[in-house]
């Protein structure tokens, strides 16, 4: 069999078939362009982009941004004014934000919300108005452009926002001090009504994605079973994934969902979803579900592992040990791809160490082949 390209390798594994080697790749948003990155790419590392297939346009909503001092800190306040009232949020931006890419600081951190969009019950009606006056329009240029740049060196995913409840929990209401849970307990009708409005507004976005040039539609849901308990997952998340899959499937798109938290408590429910790719799954200790156990629990799903930053923090020897342990946990290595990080930038030394382990991970993996890999980098 001729050697697969990096793109073929990732997509073959993502469709549940056996690739020639275990695919591994670096997300562009966490990638340091430079000599180490080039070296690792030359040794088999692929690249992955996350770009949207749509733009949004707000109708009857004006948006302004100001730099203000709040609580002694300089923040950026974005205000949305609608015929039914105004809402605003504040964010604190670390150095570098807006100066390189992806709304991230030099240290790869996104801005911190210091004030959320929804603060009190009256804000729900305003945000609902905004949601109902958001138009989604197809714009495939960003994906086509990145595909053209990458060629066979990797894949471009079509990135989507959090599903409705997660949009409230993580973005608009926020979970600081457990605020979302308190809102949901105190104002269940407001929360659930807004969730339904968001879900309805997103249907055109899914239809646009179905015709996207990207093979993988990635919902950036940041699922963590501690925050998203099984009751919430079953009631609010699973139906949304069903909706997405029902629109994407006829167009042969793969649905991936970003699940980078502790998901053991959701394991059985995840098995029942139509998700194709569980993306960013972290092995213990950052996650709580060993990758081998996850693959066994989800026989019709593919796992894209997020290599854990907690291991990188311990240095290259710990990184080597963890990478080898990961291989031993997933023998024979099917239905799997490994992302160098889904969290932050990886040091050159760690990037090269993971590459040293993975560059010779031919499939199917066996205990003997992993021993040989270990000896080759001893």
């Amino acid at each position: 069999m001729p050697e697969m390209t990096r793109r073929e390798r990732i997509l073959t594994a993502s469709r549940g078939k056996r690739a020639d080697r275990l695919p591994f790749f670096h997300w562009w948003r966490h990638c340091q362009l430079g000599w180490a990155e080039r070296e690792c790419r030359n040794r088999g590392m692929g690249m992955a982009w996350a770009r949207p297939s749509y733009t949004t346009r707000l109708h009857d909503v004006s948006v302004t941004e100001q730099e203000v001092v709040s609580g002694g800190v300089t923040v950026f306040r974005k205000t949305y004014t609608t015929p039914v009232g105004s809402v605003s949020y504040d964010e604190q931006r670390e150095p570098g934000t807006g100066q390189w890419h992806g709304d991230r600081s030099w240290l790869d951190v996104t801005p911190w919300f210091t004030q959320r969009l929804i603060k009190e019950p009256a804000d729900y009606a305003v945000v609902k108005f905004i949601v109902e006056h958001t138009e989604y329009r197809a714009d495939y240029f960003p994906i086509e452009q990145a595909r053209d740049w990458l060629g066979e060196d990797g894949i471009v995913t079509d990135i989507h926002p959090h599903t409705p409840l997660q949009t409230l929990m993580i973005d608009w209401v926020g979970s600081e001090g457990g605020r979302f849970f308190i809102h949901h307990a105190k104002y269940p009708d407001l929360v659930e009504d807004l969730c339904q409005a968001i879900a309805k507004s997103r249907l055109p976005m899914y239809e646009i994605a179905a015709k996207s040039p990207a093979d993988v539609i990635l919902c950036g849901d940041n699922i963590d079973g501690v925050l998203v308990n099984p009751r919430l997952f079953e009631k609010f998340f699973m139906p949304e994934y069903e909706t997405m899959a029902s629109i994407l499937r006829p167009f042969d798109k793969l649905l991936g969902v970003h699940m980078d938290g502790r998901v053991a408590v959701l394991k059985d429910l995840i098995a029942r979803t139509p998700i194709d790719i569980i993306e960013a799954l972290h092995p213990p200790t950052m996650g709580d579900l060993p990758i081998g156990e996850a693959l066994a629990a989800w026989p019709d799903k593919v796992v894209w592992v997020g290599f854990p930053g907690s291991v990188y923090a311990l240095g290259t020897e710990a990184t080597k040990k963890a990478a080898l342990e990961l291989l031993r946990d997933v023998v024979p290595g099917d239905r799997l791809a490994i992302a160098m990080s889904t969290e932050n930038i990886v040091s050159n030394d760690n990037l090269r160490m993971v590459t040293s382990v993975l560059e010779n991970a031919e499939l199917p993996l066996t205990p003997e082949s992993i021993d040989r890999i270990e000896k080759s980098i001893a």
């Binding site: 911190w112 600081e176 457990g178 308190i182 907690s310």
Partner: protein, 219 residues
């Protein structure tokens, strides 16, 4: 017997996560002449203990724990003004913070809630707290335990810097240090010189209780 009725109402408001009844239950307890300290120790705290047990057994999740704590706070708001100074004395103290550069506070807040249910006084410094500010707080409040939290592998190094600061200030030997957060591993805790890495909120709080319990590691 009447006292039991009022204390049970407090407990049930918390266990049932009932915002609608907690203030009335607290007010009625006070109006019925129940000692405010008793209302807390035999009404509020047992309610939170049951919630903690349900959380531990998997019947309740984080959402219920958070809401129970909020209900508890509403009850405490009614009872607190009636507390005598003597009732406010709490033997053991914890200073807790999310470290510099990190604004995640959910884990820290859960631990704080659970510590309160175990009778600790908790000085919660908040989020994005520099090593210097944590060190100053340890100096000022002289806690038995310092808890630090981080959710980012980028920020967890600040835990180590804080421990170094404590050493330089001559405070390290006076306080036990427990660290927690998703990226924090026991190996990392060892490297930075922390005393313990909490696997999760419940387990971490148990360790804190153990540390302050005579014969189990406490003095």
């Amino acid at each position: 017997m009447a006292e039991d009725k009022y204390l049970a109402a407090l407990r049930e408001s918390i266990v049932h996560l009932d915002f609608a009844t907690i203030e009335t239950a607290a007010r009625q307890a006070i109006e019925a002449g129940i000692d405010p300290g008793t209302a807390i120790t035999q009404g509020i705290v047992p309610g939170m203990t049951i919630v903690g047990e349900k959380f531990e057994s998997g019947e309740y999740f984080l959402s219920e724990l958070v809401v129970a704590a909020e209900v508890m706070k509403m009850g405490m708001k009614v009872i607190n003004p009636h507390l005598k100074q003597a009732d406010r004395h709490i033997a053991r103290k914890v200073v807790i913070a999310t470290v510099e550069g990190d604004h995640h506070d959910l884990g820290k807040n859960i631990v704080t809630t659970l510590l309160i249910t175990q009778g600790f006084e908790v000085i919660d410094l908040g989020v994005d707290i520099t090593p210097g500010r944590i060190t100053d707080a340890v100096k000022e409040h002289q806690p038995d335990i310092l808890g630090m939290s981080a959710l980012l592998s980028l920020t967890m190094t600040k835990m180590g810097e804080t421990i170094e600061n404590l050493k330089e200030a001559g405070l390290r030997d006076r306080v036990r240090v427990i660290v927690g957060g998703t990226p924090v591993t026991p190996e990392f805790a060892d490297i930075i010189g922390a005393d313990y890495k909490a696997l999760n909120a419940l387990e971490g709080v148990k360790k804190c209780v153990e540390w302050v319990t005579p014969g189990k590691g406490g003095q």
